[in-house]
Symmetry: C2
DNA sequence: AAAATGTGATGGACGATGTCAATCAATTTT
DNA sequence: AAAATTGATTGACATCGTCCATCACATTTT
């Protein structure tokens, strides 16, 4: 019936022979699987740096650097996390002296985030490493990389915006 | 210098105005961010089912169903996990009566995995839900979805194979 | 045959993660 | 002024991924 039901119901001894079935047509599966591999690779590259483990720290570091005064909730949206998760990350970064939190002058509820000098330095350091992270996909041609990047970027923004709409 | 450094160093109040900087050219970032959104959505769809939370259980359920007698280590490779992580998942599924583990007749070290009837039933149920998971990307056209699926599938297999080679 | 080496699967421990609900302060609405 | 809303934070809880050690079985070496 469905594509990929050719070699069904047979034991396999090699991963290459595995038929993914429904999962083969499911974007979620590939995103979720690749996430593990990519995260592992990035953590290895970041070694014992203060931003290792987790997407949130790196995203926060870069976005605060690029948009001084940005608010925690915007960071949360961009990183697809909820506010409480981002609050923890910021707390951690604060303890490590990477960021500074100021209370907004106009609205007393919001916080304005800034990188400390230490944060700026780390951001530069991490940026160099992140640029190298493309090496993980060394098997993939520049064209393919660019294509998938464009497509995922588009999907990303649409998801961000629809998440924004809902809550 | 680099693409995307146009609107630099300005505070933003809306996510849409955020400039991702280096991250904008980093596949890892989009994969890692989208992973969170996709995982959340899938967990919501699966509600309180016995396979909710985590990619591993669903992958195991489907692959065992499609390849009766498959070994845990192959499942681990396909799900991009390590053996111990997969062992926990299988243990959990065993406790819930979803799978059956037999010791291989030829090689006493390996296990052969099979779905129980309960497991088969759940697999069918979950398959229906997984098929609906494309709805999460309702903003994305069929063409785009197919394109990004093809590209990620290709990347997935290359990563799986290179992981296989290394360790 | 015995010993050493290798491989598949488990289990414990640890830190980190994501989520939910509750709280608190500040602001906006009525 | 009271009520409802919003931004941020905290505690609690379950889960996850990783590392290290262990155990059983196989294969290779001597």
């Amino acid at each position: 019936m469905t594509a990929g039901e050719s070699g069904s119901k047979t034991a396999v001894t090699r991963v290459e022979d595995v038929d993914l079935g429904v999962l083969d047509g499911t974007l979620s599966f590939f995103i979720r699987s690749l996430n593990l591999a990519v995260t592992r690779d990035l953590d290895a590259r970041l070694g014992g740096m203060e931003v290792a483990r987790g997407t949130g720290k790196i995203t926060a570091l870069f976005l605060i650097g690029r948009h001084p005064g940005i608010r925690p909730s915007i960071l949360a949206s961009a990183a697809m996390k909820d506010r409480s998760a981002m609050a923890r990350i910021l707390d951690d970064m604060d303890k490590h002296g990477l960021i500074r939190r100021e209370t907004g002058h106009e609205d007393g509820r919001v916080q304005a985030l800034y990188l400390t000098e230490k944060g700026e330095a780390l951001a530069d350091e991490v940026e160099a490493i992140v640029r190298q992270s493309r090496d993980f996909f060394h098997d993939i041609s520049d064209e393919e990389y660019a294509q998938v990047l464009d497509l995922l970027r588009g999907i990303y923004w649409r998801v961000v915006k629809s998440r924004q709409a809902r809550g």
